[in-house]
């Protein structure tokens, strides 16, 4: 049920903490995984950890001409595409009163517009083969909001809404479109929190710990698998109980 043998996946942000685990987990379940990001060295590290042949497809998602080449390159490298994981994401935090247009635009471009373009590009091959799995990595911030992250929250809520609309459109063609909304996941960034900050965060999380990238990756494998064939337009909240919605 969770076997992904023969499936071909494209993961964006596969150079980062969560994307690397998603790529590794999809590969461990049997999929061939194309890795995208901007830091080629880090993508190569991911490929090495996977061990098998994982095509590396560098792409800056803030440049639409590069974005529009990504799915065709993935199809060429993999011989088709069955699974798309829009995982790449960035923050440029600022309070509303100080937020610059560039800060808004860049976050929306990378987190939302690039995902729109990639989603649109995989539809044709997925509709033809009557099978597809599209997964967007959103955030608890998109669901709950967070001060200082108006741009990020908008992009992550936008991803959920976009995926629901698309889920409606293509459900009859065997394509599911879902989102995962992680809470606080341990990463290089959270490693730098001081004890007080950490305690403050943990006090809002019933599980009393941060999540791991593997715990997000497991959900992606589930949504990509046959076990989740009847789940579409859904958002999986992976947050240790921080927001029970």
């Amino acid at each position: 049920m969770f076997d992904l043998s023969g499936k071909r996946a494209l993961v964006t942000g596969a150079s980062g903490g969560i994307g690397r685990e998603i790529a590794k987990s999809l590969a461990a379940a049997g999929a061939t995984v194309a890795l995208s990001g901007t830091r080629v060295g880090a993508l190569e590290d991911t490929a090495r950890e996977i061990g098998e042949n994982s095509p590396i497809l560098p792409c800056n998602l803030s440049k639409l001409d590069e974005v529009d080449k990504l799915v065709p390159s993935a199809e060429a490298a993999l011989g088709g595409i069955d699974i798309l994981v829009n995982n790449a994401g960035m923050t440029r935090d600022n309070i509303f009163m100080r937020m610059k247009d560039e800060e808004w635009d860049e976050v929306i471009a990378v987190n939302l517009t690039a995902a729109f373009h990639l989603n649109r590009a995989v539809l044709r091959p997925m509709m033809k083969q009557r099978f597809g799995r599209i997964i967007g990595i959103s955030s608890v911030v998109g669901v709950m909001g967070n001060p200082g992250q108006g741009n990020y929250a908008a992009s992550k809520a936008g991803l959920i809404g976009m995926n629901k609309a698309l889920a409606h459109e293509v459900a009859s063609r065997g394509i599911t479109v879902n989102s995962i909304a992680p809470g606080f996941i341990a990463s290089a960034m959270t490693d730098e929190l001081n004890d007080k900050q950490r305690e403050q965060i943990l006090s809002t999380i019933p599980a009393n710990r941060l999540g791991t990238a593997q715990e997000v990756a497991g959900c992606a494998v589930f949504l990509a698998s046959d076990a989740a064939a009847y789940i579409t337009g859904h958002t999986l909240n992976v947050n240790g109980g921080m927001a029970m919605i």
Binding site: R124, M127, K128, E169, V170, S172, R173
Partner: protein, 78 residues
């Protein structure tokens, strides 16, 4: 009946699961043959494949009936 029309009709019949007799010149994919907007996109994809042509979005939007498809494709391949 031209060869193009036969090939188009075959695609429409298979894709929309309708009787060949219903696929007449004036038959609208959506109003008469039960297609939804996604079916229409898929029909255009199937035409592109069958005739090895590219049908731009604005042209695709003009293809509403079987007759529209036949005349567009006759021009495109001719």
């Amino acid at each position: 009946m031209s060869d193009v029309a036969d090939r188009v009709r075959k695609i429409v019949v298979e894709h929309l699961n309708v009787d060949a007799e219903k696929v007449v010149e004036k038959a609208s994919f959506i109003d008469d043959l039960g297609a939804d907007s996604l079916d229409q996109v898929e029909l255009v994809m199937a035409f592109e494949e069958e005739f090895s042509v590219e049908i731009p979005d604005d042209a695709a939007e003009q293809i509403q009936t079987f007759g529209d498809a036949v005349s567009f494709l006759t021009k495109a391949v001719g």
